[in-house]
Amino acid sequence: MKIFDLTAHEVRDKLRNRELSSVELTEESYKRIDAVESKVDSFITFTKKEAFLQAKAFDERMKKGELLGDLAGIPMALKDNMCTDGILTTCASKILGNFTPPYDATVTQKLKNAGAVIVGKTNMDEFAMGSSTENSAYKTTKNPWDTDRVPGGSSGGSAASVASGEVFYSLGSDTGGSIRQPAAFTGLVGLKPTYGRVSRYGLVAFASSLDQIGPLGKDVEDCALVMNTISGHDRKDSTSIDRPVPDFALGMKNGVKGMRIGIPKEFFGEGIDEEVKTMVLEAARLYESMGAVCEEISLPSAKHALSVYYILATSECSSNLARFDGARYGYRAKNYEGFKDMFIKTRSQGFGEEVKRRIMLGTYSLSSGYYDAYYNRGLKVRTLIKQEFEKAFETYDFILTPTTPTTAFKIGEKSDDPLEMYMSDICTVPVNIAGVPAISLPCGFKDGLPVGMQLIGKFFDEATLIRAAYSFEKASVICRQRASIMGGGVNEL
């Protein structure tokens, strides 16, 4: 088996057994980048110098016989909306094209402390606004399973970098499905933690009440190990929750016997591909065969989640992005007359189309005369959605749904129709609205493309999701399938 085909925990074992050094592994990672990056376009920035320094430091500590953590010495990638001290952080926007943060995001710091080797910063939809990674100001990332298709968005670069073997895992951010939807499209496991579980300090804000950082990996165990490293309270983020962090990998192998699984009929309705439905329902049967109980449930307000999302996310983004004025950092327009004109021209030239569209929609929702009809009503429907989830979790351990209505679509197919593009997040947004955790993992293939299923859990109960996802992964053969660019593909099945 090729090294780049391995999972992070398999590579960890090889590092610990001295079969490999971190420098060799980092060389492998950049070799792989040389071989496939021109086909997938996962990255915006490479951090080769820093990566090799970290790799060498790992090897020296190993020589001294130090016991190092699970992620130490392993090449990984960060989405380009997470601040890295002294390294370009563009958010895939022209307005931040020259921005070098003077500090590290908390997740960056935690990964560095854990000895992770950061190989580069990945491409994304500008300011994390999009579902296809076509909204980047720099490049369009391609799906490693079929390079004519999108890898999903907005963490498409992070997903493609793992699915094509350039790195062993990555971090994405998820505001309405931006970790889970790309995970589903590229055959990976992606986890959106409970809101507040992972610090957002140093994450360039899109919609602060919805954004959450999480891992993308080749299997469930990798995601559990990354969660162990990045979770926890942070006094620099006022929305971070002070709660103990369990070892997410610890109870992972305990099975699903006796678990109760809710299957909400609203997530299997119109717009969801028939084969996707069938595969998710087959997964439910597999859970039953392992001793779980599956029952149909109803979450009637979930059908409003996308509307609520586009009011709240755009309102919050219009407020968050008001800081981009050309005064202190980022792009500044060349020709202007006075301060206000500098502000307007900088923003008009610096932001891309989708970002401007969302700022406009959010400003409209928050404007005088519409605030109650849109924003305030959106917050109230959010309460209803949250209450329905809470009620369901009184009876069920987790909820099972498709992650996306279809498999990965073609590049350009939906870019002219924002509404149609937004629909690809229809199964994932209710989770962000409620703030609960969810994981996406592969459950089958349609025409050679991965299909993802989503497990939604109780507040702070990522452990159950990881355990349930791990059980499915071990019981099916799907997780060992690799993208065609990896020399795999479902034709091998």
Binding site: T194, S301, I311, I344, M360, T363, L379, P418, I433, G435
Partner: protein, 95 residues
């Protein structure tokens, strides 16, 4: 709900953005479609429902009022599009 060019101009002013005439027309159509979609929320009965600002019930967080080192001035200014005498340089704001 139909969005007019005048609406687009008004919102653009609030958002500190400007658009070409052709772009404004594009916005009326695309924004109108999305607003039409989110209008379905008007069907939901929200009488007596409290709004949820945050998914978790979080309280404001305070720290002890102890001074801590600030970020290095030069590091902050390293990204300034224009700087002078250790400050950000911007066009005159008041006459």
């Amino acid at each position: 709900m139909a969005i007019t060019v005048k609406d687009v101009e008004h919102v653009a002013r609030l958002a500190h953005l400007e658009f070409e005439e052709e772009e404004k027309l594009g916005f009326t159509e695309k924004l109108g479609a999305v607003i039409g979609y989110i209008e379905q929320l008007k069907e939901v009965d929200v009488d007596g429902v409290e709004p949820t600002n945050h998914a978790l019930d979080i309280k404001n967080v305070f720290r002890e009022d102890v001074s801590e080192p600030s970020m290095d001035r030069e590091k902050i200014l390293q990204n300034a599009p224009a700087k002078r005498s250790g400050c950000f340089e911007v066009p005159r704001m008041v006459d």
